[in-house]
């Protein structure tokens, strides 16, 4: 009996020894990349991971790269990051939207690269080929927090096949809101069952409502959400009212857009799907629509004939010359990238991985999967005339959102304001007054301006 017990204990000791030595031999450090989706997951798993692991193994510091896919919305991802970082955890390298940065940095959830890794981050060869304006996407208060993927721009995507059926020109370019609405009216009467125009609004779509819906229209009406010279938020103005009236016309008085998609949770995907099936004629969206959801082969709503039937027009100002900074056409840009988590146990290795991802070779490989405007000037857009036009024609007209910690809260109020119009809860005037009160409470009376309404 005693010998049996003895034997058992010996076995246990042996087992523990074997297990611990196995763990010892496998000393590769794990580096996690979080928040990625779509073709980037493929790129990271098939190209970046094997390449980087081989390189590091050769250098004598073996690592294992783990790619953590995220399939929720941008709002869901932001929520996940706030909770992860607030709890002192999270992936080492995180895919990140630039406009979240100010509130994360102010809240102490993210730290500058020079603080997490050290001054040597500034020596990376890539910075010299990334313009400062693009570096700013992943910067706050003059400090770098990550490496930008690139920027984007917003336009009116439209289906030339539907335009042709409705008797509209296929090289269409409206020069005023009235011409935009006229095209929508023509489609409504010529093609029953087709939703003419979708301009995003409502809380369910989150930032998509603010940036490609409200801000795209507001810029055309004459100003931005923020007065960059006076450094104040504009909370009441004829332009805001005109913008809200545009939503009112599209969704209520003339029924040119589908209300349901703006109010239900999966509305954005429903609108993409409908567009891909030829049930929506015009969709105001970022170039993300073209290179992401609709991309032949890789998109969630892939259109094999995308290049033949989808094209874009610039968003016109309300009247020619009436747009932001006196422009005839307007656009809004955002930008995303990757940040380094200050909670990372291996910030040095995580930084190595980031520079590997953003080397010219890696990005050239990614361009083959998804051509777009990349941050690095030495990475070209291969063979995609539409994306090249976005870069050459739209970007020069485009403007960015205020990089301020209050922006996200104001944006939530913008979404609510547009929702109140689309759902018919309030008139444009009532909604603007509610917005005025709410934003004033967020940023303080000293930080708002009101432009008188001319009667």
């Amino acid at each position: 009996m005693k010998s049996k017990l003895h034997c058992f204990l010996m076995l246990m000791c042996l087992l523990v020894f074997v297990l611990s030595s196995a763990a010892h031999a496998q000393e590769a450090v794990e580096i996690k990349i979080g928040g990625v989706s779509g073709v980037e997951v493929r790129w990271l798993n098939e190209m970046v991971k094997p390449g980087f692991e081989a390189m590091m193994a050769e250098a004598g510091t073996p690592v294992t790269v783990t790619v953590v896919e995220f399939s929720g919305s941008g709002e869901d991802l932001r929520q996940q990051y706030v909770l992860d970082l607030g709890a002192g955890t999270g992936a080492d390298v995180m895919s990140f939207d630039g406009f979240w940065l100010p509130e994360f940095a102010e809240g102490g959830l993210l730290k500058p690269l020079t603080e997490v890794v050290g001054e040597r981050v500034l020596e990376w060869e890539g910075w010299s080929v990334i313009p400062e304006g693009i570096q700013a996407i992943m910067s706050y208060n003059g400090q770098l927090f990550g490496i930008p993927r690139g920027t984007d721009a917003r336009v009116i995507w439209y289906r030339t096949d539907l335009f042709e059926q409705a008797g509209l020109p296929t090289n269409w370019q409206p020069t005023s809101w009235e011409e935009l609405l006229d095209a929508a009216r023509t489609i409504k009467s010529a093609l029953p069952g087709v939703t003419p125009l979708q301009l995003n609004a409502g809380t369910a779509m989150g930032e998509a409502s603010t940036l490609q819906g409200y801000i795209m229209a507001l810029l055309g009406a004459g100003h931005h959400v923020y007065d960059f010279e006076a450094k104040k938020w504009i909370v009441s103005s004829p332009a805001i009212l005109a913008t809200l009236e545009l939503f009112e016309i599209i969704y209520n008085t003339e029924g040119l857009g589908e209300v349901r998609w703006q109010l239900v949770r999966n509305g954005r995907d429903l609108s993409f799907e409908a567009f891909s099936k030829g049930q929506v004629a015009m969709l105001v969206e970022g170039d993300f629509l073209w290179r992401g959801p609709l991309a032949p082969g890789t998109g969630n709503f892939a259109m094999p004939n995308r290049n033949e039937v989808v094209t874009f027009a610039l968003m016109p100002a309300r009247e020619p010359g009436a747009g932001y900074l006196g422009q005839d056409f307007v656009s809004a840009s955002g930008g995303t990238g990757f940040v380094l988590n200050a909670n990372s146990a291996n910030p040095e290795l995580a930084w190595e991985l980031m520079t590997y991802m953003f080397s010219k070779e890696s990005l050239d490989a990614l361009q083959q999967l998804q051509p777009r405007i990349r941050a690095r000037l030495d990475v070209e857009v291969p063979n995609d005339p539409v994306m090249s036009r976005i870069a050459s024609e739209v970007l020069p007209l485009s403007t960015i959102r205020p990089q301020l910690p209050e922006y996200n809260q104001v944006s939530a109020q913008i979404q609510l304001m547009t929702e109140r119009i689309v759902s018919g809860e309030m008139t444009p005037m009532e909604a603007m007054q509610a917005y005025d009160a709410a934003v004033t409470q967020i940023v303080g009376e000293d930080n708002v301006i009101r432009i008188p309404l001319d009667k």
Partner: protein, 300 residues
């Protein structure tokens, strides 16, 4: 007075683990929430690092008479929650549960087994699975509308046009089993001779229900109502179905608290809402307890 079996010291010793547990997991969070409700603490932005004391400001904002009944605000949310509790817990779960229990009282057979099995199945399936199934069921092209079309009725966009009705139906379906089981075991404890005597003197089914079953069930009904009111008041599952929308039209208080706290990360304001919800729960529980104590005294 009966002499205690254990000494005072010894009984405290035995109680100590439970008391420590309550203190750490109940009292401490309660006080920290209470304390946080007087600050502008957030999880993002400058107030995450340097929260300030704002006194009663969070509470004043919540009860701001100008817009507290607006969609997406707390007052509106409490009103929806009241509809939800009355509709799905009191009328739905308790009413339906009681009806099923009485209908199958002293009956055996396939129908009873089928109804009980289905009700219990609805109760024990995990939330996410159930919500997904209902999402598909209530979709414009979902099963329910296919049934409606098949019998020649107009299909409806349930989750979009009738979000409150949808979550009330959903929660009734989801939770009826509890009331049903509670009432059937209560009914089983009533001596059959009562009902047999009533049959002999020719009482109608309604008279038997009103004069025999209901008085004997009263205590159980109170217990049932306390539990399901509190559960329904605090349930978060409708979020999986409607997300509180569209346009906050099914934004019950649990979803509202979640949105303020964990979507907008305004911990101070969310704590103030949590304190108010806690007070409402305490009030509801004490009303029910008061009623059931009084009844116990009457029957004693």
């Amino acid at each position: 007075m009966q002499k205690a079996i254990l000494s005072r010291e010894l009984s405290l010793l035995f109680l100590a683990p439970a008391l420590v547990f309550v203190a750490v997991f109940l009292l401490y969070p309660f006080f920290s929430i209470f304390q946080m409700s007087f600050t502008n603490q957030t999880l993002v932005g400058a107030n995450a690092v340097n929260p300030q004391h704002v006194g009663l400001q969070n509470y004043l904002d919540l009860f701001n008479t100008r817009d507290w009944m607006r969609r997406g605000e707390m007052g509106h949310s409490l009103w929806l929650t009241a509809q939800f509790v009355v509709g799905s817990a009191l009328i739905g779960q308790a009413g339906l549960g009681l009806s099923i229990a009485v209908a199958f009282h002293h009956r055996r057979g396939l129908l009873r087994e089928a109804v009980y099995t289905l009700a219990i199945a609805a109760w024990i399936i995990p939330d996410v699975v159930v919500a997904f199934a209902w999402f598909a069921y209530l979709d414009p092209n979902g099963t329910l509308n296919q049934i409606l079309r098949a019998v020649g009725l107009q299909p409806l966009d349930w989750l979009f046009d009738y979000p409150m009705l949808s979550i009330i139906l959903f929660n009734t379906w989801r939770g009826t089993a509890f009331s049903m089981l509670l009432f059937s075991s209560a009914l089983a404890s009533i001596p059959p001779s009562y009902m047999e005597t009533a049959d002999v003197i020719g009482a109608s089914p309604w008279q038997k229900f009103r004069d025999i079953l209901l008085p004997l069930l009263r205590g159980y009904i109170a217990t049932d109502l306390i539990l399901i009111t509190l559960w329904t008041f605090n349930t978060f599952t409708p979020f999986l179905l409607t997300g509180g929308g569209p346009t906050y039209r099914s934004n019950v208080i649990a979803i509202h608290t979640y949105n303020v706290g964990l979507r907008f990360f305004e911990f101070g304001k969310a704590s103030a809402i949590a304190v108010i919800v806690m007070l409402i729960n305490l009030l509801l529980a004490s009303i029910y307890l008061f009623i059931s104590r009084r009844q116990q005294r009457q029957t004693a």
